[in-house]
Amino acid sequence: MDGQAKSSPRVGLSILSVSLRISLLFMLICGIIYPLASTGAAQLLFPYQANGSLLKDSNGELTGSELIGQSFSDPSFFQGRVSSIEYNAAASGSNNFAPSNPALIERTKASVEEWKANNPDVPVDQVPIALLTNSGSGLDPHITPQSAAVQIPRISKLTGLPAAELTVLVKEQTEGRDLGLFGDERVNVLKLNLALSAKLVK
């Protein structure tokens, strides 16, 4: 009764042949032509963005991507968030610790102790949670403006730059919400440190 489409063997065969041809055709269109055409158009129209938004230092050498965080172990630089993969951008990832996982509390406690040792002038209750937690990607290029502000006393002491000058620097590097509305205010750590090191060279 629900007949016509599969009544005869010939129709069955034609379904198979059309299925095969439609699959091959769309593998070609969606899997080869579409991404290659996209790549061509992107490279032509937006070469900087299409190649990973790469930054150059004062000598013109590639020093990273403005979108990818870097590990800063020198305490005279501003530091980014915790990264369980040490900002290795050949991969991405995080600990995936649940809030109830004791390992999360242990790791954060260690970060708190480290903070106390390196920043005796700033009490822990002023340190924002974002600075002491692992981002989702492990590559977060940003910190919150407050996370930058609490590092100023340490950096001022180590570099000799006055705190007021550093505050201005952080303010200059603070990006607002997108379209004044979306997301949160943030500071790009790599750009901030590039600006900081340019000041130190001068």
Binding site: G3, Y34, A89, S92, T108, I129, F182, G183, D184, R186
Partner: protein, 559 residues
Amino acid sequence: MDVLQMLVVIAVLLLLVKPLGTYVYHVFSNEPNRLDKIFGGTERFIFRLIGLNRREGMSWKGYALTFIATNIVLVAFSYLILRLQHALPFNPNGMGSMEPTLTFNTVISFMTNTNLQHYSGESALSYFSQMAVIMMMMFTSAATGFSVAIAFVRGITSKGETIGNFFEDFVKAHTRIFLPASFIITLVLVALQVPQTLDPTLTVKTLEGAMQKIAVGPVASLESIKHLGTNGGGFFGVNSAHPFENPSPLTNVIEILCMWALPAALPYTFGLFAKNKKQGWVIFSAMICLFLVFLSVAYTSEKAGSPAMEALGIDASQGSMEGKEVRFGIAQSALFTTVTAAATTGTVNNMHDTLTPLGGLVPLAEMMLNVIFGGKGVGLVNMLMYTVLAVFICGLMVGRTPEFLGRKIEPREMKLIAVAILAHPFIILVPTAIAFMTDLGHGAITNPGFHGISQVLYEYTSSAANNGSGFEGLGDNTPFWNMSTGLVMLFGRYISMIAMLAVAGSLVRKQPVPETIGTFRTDNALFTGLLIGTVLLIGALTFLPVIVLGPVAEYLTLR
């Protein structure tokens, strides 16, 4: 500001529903319209190439047969490509062949629009595999789901013997929706800094003088179809939390709207097919009401954060930031999470494993209900299934033969719907129980205590709902997990699709019954309430016990 930015995104969505729903209707109504001038030529050329000479309507069996045949062919080719990727072109980073059970899992995952990933793209796939398998399946699986949903809608809104031609629907979904939209969104994303290149992984010298490797690739072209097709599989392991996949709050909003707009517009399309726009709005209202409840829970729970972190004496006022990105903050993360689970996309911009207990319950519960917008077409079909169920229950209560859209609902339809509704909890709860009984299963748990239960439960729920997100701490790249979740994804996709096509095939042939004063109305606010009640009732009856064991217990014990 947090609440405002979420409301603005929702407002933009509401504005998109009507124009987009109308557009989709014109694509699939098969009546001549202005779009034919633009796309008709290309489509006729494609029909000739694939040898589709007569595009006659198919019975539901014919439709099911053709979509399954096409899916099987695509799966076979993709399996071969992944296994042989080391010998194929566009492999600048020298990726090796993929392991067999992982390959099985991956091809099923992408063909079923799930995009569960037991691999990390940057370390397991060549660029050729990313393009010819991953991107290709993101298009074809979305087009398949869309076509089946439209066929179902035709079945319950028209009279005749046939429900459309699968090949024609499949081609049109590509030419008129997914390909042009993806190309435009790709360029928008590249302009906003998402990379699109075939160069190998970069090496740079960092400010401190160390060497940093940075994986790049054709990211933007995957990113656009990943969301438009509600696929959700990331180019990189951490998906849209990766700064290259989702560089800014603005791209975040674009990605949210891309995955949300088409599923949200489909109820309106359905209303146009049914020649009763109010009926479409009833379905939409039920979805958005449930959505708003879930969003509120996710946002307040993440904003409140975890008492355990607060106890450390740090400034925890921002909320739970573990596993989240600074550029998104709490609002854009909570919104993304609620949308990705609603639209069963499965893309994530924060790590769901790290969500607070009630925050993590939100995506879990949304996938269990599986009706709030839903992936390409599937959500609408599921919601219509619950609609018929609600009509049936109300009919029983007042002692009348239940009717929907002027058709009598009879035992044959109710049996099929019962199969589809019960299959979902069955393929979640049974594998979860099995996983706990074996070392192979619970050995993968990485977060101790009640959260470990949630990890396993989430993995199977996500597979069954064809969502694809995960509590990613779970060590799931083992043959046990690859095979078991692979099978759950298969059943989750095809059992309900085939059952629903059968319902459509049965309804399309029924003699319409005239509407009388005694007809139970399904297009008013009362019915919206009944529909929400039915969804919550069935959901609570099947899933409440296991939710109490996982997220609720974790919430109550977290100090």
